[in-house]
Symmetry: C2
Subunit: 428 residues, 2 copies
């Protein structure tokens, strides 16, 4: 028997319109699957009279948040307005009023989730957030429900489509600037691309993924991130010569009970599943005791894709209300953060040097002094200047950084080199 | 507050042992996530005294099915014994006795699901089956719950790890026989590999996936399948020259309201995400209106991996009992089957011919007679014998087959050539 379920939105932009359209177009699908008929009754906007891609029924749009918060009939609210203020307070207000909330807001979750989930727990309602990470790729549900007995200990992710598009274009010969301009032209990058290219967007998503995977809160401030603005065609070329590609990779790792979450450009071996993630696509790879590794791939952004995840979350809220099933805060413990520099990995380093006898030995010595063992070393000479391409064996990132500091002070070395992590094989 | 939940198993082999171990080792994880403490109280076996990898408590193993069926305390039963008889009747008996069932049995589901789901619906209990397809890769939950408003219209899958391992080894230069022997040595292939290499195993999985994706029952008999036993190094070599790899691909397609499900070797373009699926791994790609495409990849077999999916299903059953949430039969409509030969695709064909003037023109004419347009045609000559490699534009498979029948009767042609589908780009 069908149950009429009034729902509301905070925000009615691109994603909000897409949610409204999906709710209307898929009403029968949802009813058949769940027994509930979802009906959009309110949507919070700044301007009621603005033209919309998908016009809701008269009276749905409102500028008055209290109308939604205080409407006893509204069974679930989806927040798709974005931003931190007043969004965070609106969500808190809804939760405290006993309303389940679904949100697509990664920046808010990566900063205020302790407070938000505490409010949800106190009110005994759900706060779901599938759409906050990688749009329609259902990684939160998979982590929480499908992998409930799996002990996930590592998450690798290409979780920013803008930077992945740029890096893929650079593989085909574009410069960083050309690739960024093309991304902006195609709508994959904003006019101000800082949030994406700096790694900040990916860092917020990795914070959320790590929190769910490890059951311990990770916020944006806990994530060390670097972007791709320092990546030059030489890196892409050097990657190719190592049968690899350059990708902006987020990693969340559990090491002896401590958590390490970081985002940075990495060299990914051609046969690693992440290497095949091209263009604006996203992928998340989960390593767990019982599953070895599972990868989910798909479009990481888009209004309709995000809306699909929002509606699926609304359906899941309604479908599990009252059962106590996987509804609370995913975080149930408080793990320490791994000291920066402790995470072991193999690294790739490109070092611009003078083409002089002895430089290779001097560089090699500095690595040896820090106990970093070298797997591969080659020297490229071009127009009188030279570069060393170094791949290390697995070593703590701090020891590699210390070696690079020492190398930077060699007279033959032009600049402090940057290290890129190497992800070469499955399971690594 | 914790609720003690007695559960039972049918079967206690590799998967059953792994389920028992996961239930014991992850009892706290499950309780924290769901509020339920699952306790294995019965497991049906043929021989109670046989030694087990993970020994259950005294009194758990039994040879008497009725003890499980009639135990009112048992809240959910997982079937991990495999086979069709008496397994099917046991599951029916449990469902009719009002017990929810979780099964890993693809062969049974691909043959008797109408009857099984009808019994579940009549008793008002759930029948879940995540583990029946690709072990721990959570494609059933993703299809039913995450993509509830997505209108999935195409499923592409590499759903058999044995054949994928063999094909990947052939890429590295092994013959079919060498690769099969290696798969058997590593435990990826059975002593009698027929079920895998014939495509029958993949066909059963595609029938289940198609049923869930399209909401219309597809059984094993509805799936046209071919295996990889006809694949020779020349195919792999020809694929390489077309910047492709050979994969055993299952496709389920919705065309104008009709369903087509098939399994066969295909040429997959190097940049298509399925091409990066190597060794014994599986992957399923879902195309839908709201999501473009989402791919899930992971190990497609293994005792622990399968057990992980079984336990997740048990948890999902308990977590949704009584809410009416996505519990019934996934099939709610009855779609016709697309006439064989109607499905359009581009095809690759290798034709062994005499190296005589005019043969290329004769072959080209036969394609033209059937309205099949050619995208690429090249002739290889070696030791006096020759082969034509042909890639067609998209054409109905029946027209391609008719052209090949006509080509087979040409005097210069040595044997009826086989066509391999070509999957070259994302979205195709």
């Amino acid at each position: 028997m069908s149950v009429d379920v009034p729902v509301a939105l905070l925000g009615y932009g691109t994603v909000g319109c897409a949610v409204a359209r999906l709710l209307a177009d898929s009403a029968e699908d949802i009813e058949r699957a769940t027994g509930h008929r979802l009906r959009l009754v309110r949507a919070l906007v700044r301007d009621v009279d603005k033209e919309r891609e998908f016009q809701p029924e008269d009276g749905v749009l409102t500028t008055d948040f209290a109308l939604i918060r205080d409407d006893e009939s509204v069974a679930v609210v989806a927040e798709v307005m974005g931003g931190l203020t007043p969004t965070g307070d609106h969500i808190l207000g809804l939760l405290r009023a006993g309303k389940p909330v679904v949100t697509a807001n990664k920046q808010l979750l990566a900063r205020r989730s302790t407070e938000l989930f505490a409010a949800a727990a106190e009110a005994g309602v759900q706060l779901r957030f599938e759409a906050s990470v990688c749009a329609a790729i259902p990684v939160i549900k998979v982590l929480r429900e499908s992998l409930v007995v799996t002990n996930v200990h590592r998450v690798l992710g290409i979780v920013n489509g803008t930077t992945n598009f740029i890096l893929t274009r650079m593989e085909s010969g574009a410069s960083y600037e050309e690739a960024l301009a093309e991304a902006q032209r195609l709508g994959y990058a904003e006019a101000d691309p800082t949030e994406d290219v700096s790694g900040a967007d990916a860092a917020a998503k990795m914070a959320i993924l790590a929190s769910v995977a490890f059951g311990s809160r990770v916020e944006l401030d806990d994530v060390a991130y670097e972007g791709i603005d320092q990546i030059r065609p030489e890196h892409v070329e050097a990657a190719r010569s190592l049968d690899s590609v350059v990708r902006l990779v987020g990693t969340a790792t559990l090491v002896d009970g401590a958590v390490d979450v970081r985002v940075g450009p990495a060299l990914v071996g051609r046969h690693h599943p992440l290497a095949s993630v091209e263009g604006p696509f996203n992928a998340v790879m989960l390593h767990g005791d019982a599953i070895r590794e599972i990868m989910l791939e798909g479009p990481g952004a888009g209004g309709l894709e995000t809306a699909s995840a929002v509606v699926a979350d609304m359906v899941s809220v309604l479908g599990t209300t009252g059962t106590g099933f996987l509804q609370g805060d995913a975080c149930w413990r408080s793990l320490p953060t791994l000291p920066p520099g402790d995470l072991p990995a193999p690294f790739y380093v490109r070092i611009a040097v003078d083409d002089r006898p002895g430089v290779l030995a001097h560089v090699a010595e500095r690595f040896a002094d820090e106990g970093v063992s070298i797997a591969q070393l080659s020297q490229q000479v071009q127009n009188g200047s030279a570069a060393l391409d170094v791949v290390t064996h697995t070593a703590p990132s701090g020891r590699v950084a210390a070696a690079l500091d020492a190398i930077a002070s060699l007279p033959e070395v032009h600049a402090r080199p940057e290290a890129l992590r190497v992800i070469s094989e499955r399971g690594v």
